[in-house]
């Protein structure tokens, strides 16, 4: 992975210049975590810290989330991939963040991000103490096993079906030596997984979501990892009136996830930070992706640009209205 190392080198130079010229108060990136294949958000304030900066396939969070807490007017640098830049754009469009406060360092995305939950599942929940890479093969070693897993099988689903490699809005662009391609060699439809899922019967689809959501403990890691979930008081946390009775009944879990999905319709950019944050390894990305596909099919918008109106927040005379209840 020589390319990734070159990207890291250019990133370090950009971050160094931003900090030494005092253009920002800090730059948000990633550093190594305390466990293999884990990273942690890294607030780079001093030049001497820059060496700890990493950039790789396990920088799993959407750092845009961490900008929400910061006051307007504070200059911050942030290292982002395309889907994350798109989520920042949603926040700028929704007047949550000022574009001029943020220095975006855009990085073309390689194959995407590893979902640690997928690794755990494939290892049967066993702990691995180290891993090595041979091309796209990852070899995991634990106390009593060694297992080779293909990158394609542990990438986030969104990344497997992603064609959105080039940053779209940035102040600095890191040049990738070669143009990155998707891990799939042949061409594919970005919504292929949704299209396949749509072929199932409603009963099968219900059974799938039921099975996944039964695992939910309502810890809110998905909501809290999502940069677009920024309500000051989430409906889940409201107790006057109380929308949600806080028990872990399936109906309550459904209520939470369905409401969150609808709140994200036309906004979710498919970064999948939510799925990777889930401690139970619940896969509900299809729910969000389906809503993305619906906005694409209906309004031909599944990726929003800076300054463009939001799908749900705008109205055009020729909007499709087939979902409206009509009087006969």
């Amino acid at each position: 992975m020589k390319i990734m190392e070159e990207i890291r080198k250019s990133l370090k130079e950009i971050v160094k210049s931003l900090i030494s010229e005092k253009k920002v108060e800090y730059v948000l990136g990633f550093e190594e975590g305390t466990l293999p294949l884990k990273s942690v958000p890294f607030y780079i304030e001093k030049e001497e810290d820059i060496d700890r900066l990493i950039w790789n396939e396990y920088c799993n969070l959407n750092l845009v989330k961490f900008l929400l807490e910061e006051p307007h007017g504070k200059k911050i640098g942030i290292i982002l991939k395309t889907c994350e830049i798109r989520s920042l754009i949603v926040l700028i469009n929704e007047k949550q963040i000022n574009r001029e406060d943020i220095i975006i360092i855009g990085v073309p995305c390689s194959y995407g991000i590893i979902d640690f939950n997928k690794v755990s599942k494939l290892l049967g929940g066993k702990e691995f103490s180290e891993f090595t890479k041979h091309g796209n093969d990852y070899i995991f070693k634990g106390v009593d096993f060694e297992k080779t897993i293909k990158l394609q099988d542990i990438l986030s689903d969104s990344c497997v079906y992603c064609k959105d490699k080039k940053p779209i809005e940035y102040d600095y662009l890191v040049k990738a030596p070669n143009e990155f391609k998707n891990i799939k060699e042949e061409d594919f439809d970005e919504y292929l997984d949704v299209i396949e899922f749509e072929k199932k019967t409603p009963k099968e689809r219900w059974a799938y979501f039921k099975k996944e959501l039964e695992k939910c403990t309502l810890c809110m890691a998905c909501r809290n990892a999502c940069p677009l979930c920024y309500c000051k008081t989430c409906f889940i946390d409201q107790n006057q009136p109380q929308w949600f009775d806080k028990t872990d009944d399936l109906s309550e879990k459904m209520l939470f996830h369905m409401t969150r999905a609808i709140h994200l319709a036309g906004r979710c950019t498919g970064c999948e930070a939510c799925t990777r944050a889930c401690p139970e390894g619940i896969d509900i990305h299809l729910l969000y992706k389906k809503l993305r596909k619906m906005t694409k099919d209906r309004w031909n918008v599944d990726k929003i640009g800076l300054g463009e109106p939001s799908v749900m927040g705008s109205y055009k005379m020729d909007d499709p209205q087939e979902f409206m209840v009509k009087e006969d």
């Binding site: 975590g33 466990l35 958000p41 049967g124 702990e127 810890c219 890691a221 946390d237 009775d245 028990t247």
Partner: protein, 362 residues
């Protein structure tokens, strides 16, 4: 020694000496034997991992699996995420309250690790503190026996030895099993555990060579725990750091989700809610977690723990300061689950290191 006490002493001594050798291939039949008389909670192969679940031998084949520790502790079997306390119904103009009817059978949690066994001691302390014993917890706890499995292969996140535990500790257990690769040692620990005597009677007694091997195992297990911190002064250290800046730094990367609390075998904060419709409902106790923004939100709208800074601090203080003040024990067993589960890889060991380092400098 007076004659009266002698008899009692003797029984305790006999309990202490029940230490049997179970051949490797006989463990499953031992489990089957126990299953006849007890409900069993055992580590089971599930789809993606091994998890604690009720054994149902009439429906499944069972083989005791190999594992380091399980991702999810068996906390929920005694302290479930949702527990009905009582129900109520509208009848004419009256409200009828129905007590919870729960029949708890004698049960065993089998194969529990030392850290998780100690976590029940912490829960016992909490649920019996104050004037009353919590009936919902103890109705199950008093019927539960714990058979532990000493930890030959602690995980990379384990730090039980820093919080007063040990991978081979039998604290809180009724019996413990030591895995010597080609055989097991089954040792009865508590007086309650003496009920297991009849299930292991047929097996030979342990010999000195096996006990020596066990000791070697124990010390090799201890050596595998790479993290070590001296927490002797942690209560005092934290006393001086309530207003410290470290909490802003520590909480900076926290998403304020409840993953760490819910996975923690000792976290026990709960909330009580009514789940009702127009005809009646249930009063339920549910897990709460101190990282949620709504935790300790007061009716006035004021929240003493309004930001991540206070909430992160609360979690550390509760385990490493308030617990020592209130019950003279630590509230953490060093299982390391919170480290593994955290979406931002916030590592409680790092936080403790920071606390100790900063306190030493002050």
């Amino acid at each position: 020694m007076a004659k009266k006490t002698k008899k009692k002493k003797q029984t305790i001594e006999t309990i202490e000496t029940i230490e049997k050798i179970i051949p490797k291939d006989k463990l499953d039949s031992l489990i089957k034997g126990l299953y006849k008389d007890f409900k069993l909670i055992v580590p089971k192969e599930a789809k993606n991992e091994i998890e604690y679940d009720y054994l149902e031998l009439d429906k499944e084949e069972y083989k005791f699996p190999e594992y380091q520790n399980l991702r999810v502790s068996p906390k929920k079997f005694l302290f479930p995420q949702k527990e009905v306390l009582y129900s109520f119904e509208k009848e004419a103009k009256k409200i009828l309250i129905k007590e919870k009817e729960e029949t708890v059978e004698d049960q065993i949690i089998f194969g529990i690790r030392s850290c998780d066994a100690r976590s029940y001691k912490i829960l016992d302390t909490f649920f019996s503190s104050g004037k009353y014993n919590d009936p919902y917890y103890f109705s199950k706890r008093n019927k539960t026996l714990l058979i532990g499995l000493a930890c030959n292969e602690p995980m990379s996140t384990c730090f039980c030895t820093s919080v007063g535990g040990d991978p081979f500790s039998s604290e809180g257990l009724d019996a413990i099993i030591y895995d010597l690769d080609d055989k097991y040692i089954f040792k009865i620990i508590s007086e309650k555990g003496s009920v297991f005597e009849k299930y292991v009677k047929e097996y030979p007694n342990v010999n000195k060579a096996d006990l020596k091997r066990k000791e070697e195992r124990a010390s090799s297990a201890r050596d595998k725990i790479k993290f070590e911190i001296n927490l002797d002064n942690i209560e005092k250290d934290l006393d001086g750091l309530f207003e410290s800046d470290i909490w802003s730094k520590v909480s900076q990367r926290c998403l304020s989700c409840g993953a760490c609390s819910y996975i923690c075998p000792t976290c026990h904060c709960f909330d009580v809610q009514d789940k009702s419709d127009k005809n009646g409902g249930k009063r339920v106790r549910i897990w709460d977690n101190c990282q949620a923004s709504i935790f300790t939100l007061e009716a006035s709208g004021h929240n003493p723990r309004n930001s991540g800074r206070e909430r992160t601090r609360q979690r550390i203080y509760h385990k490493f300061n308030y617990y020592l003040k209130n019950y003279k024990i630590l509230g953490c067993v060093g299982c390391g689950r919170c480290i593994k589960v955290c979406p931002t890889n916030r590592d409680i060991r790092e936080t403790l290191k920071t606390v100790v380092d900063v306190a030493e400098k002050v």
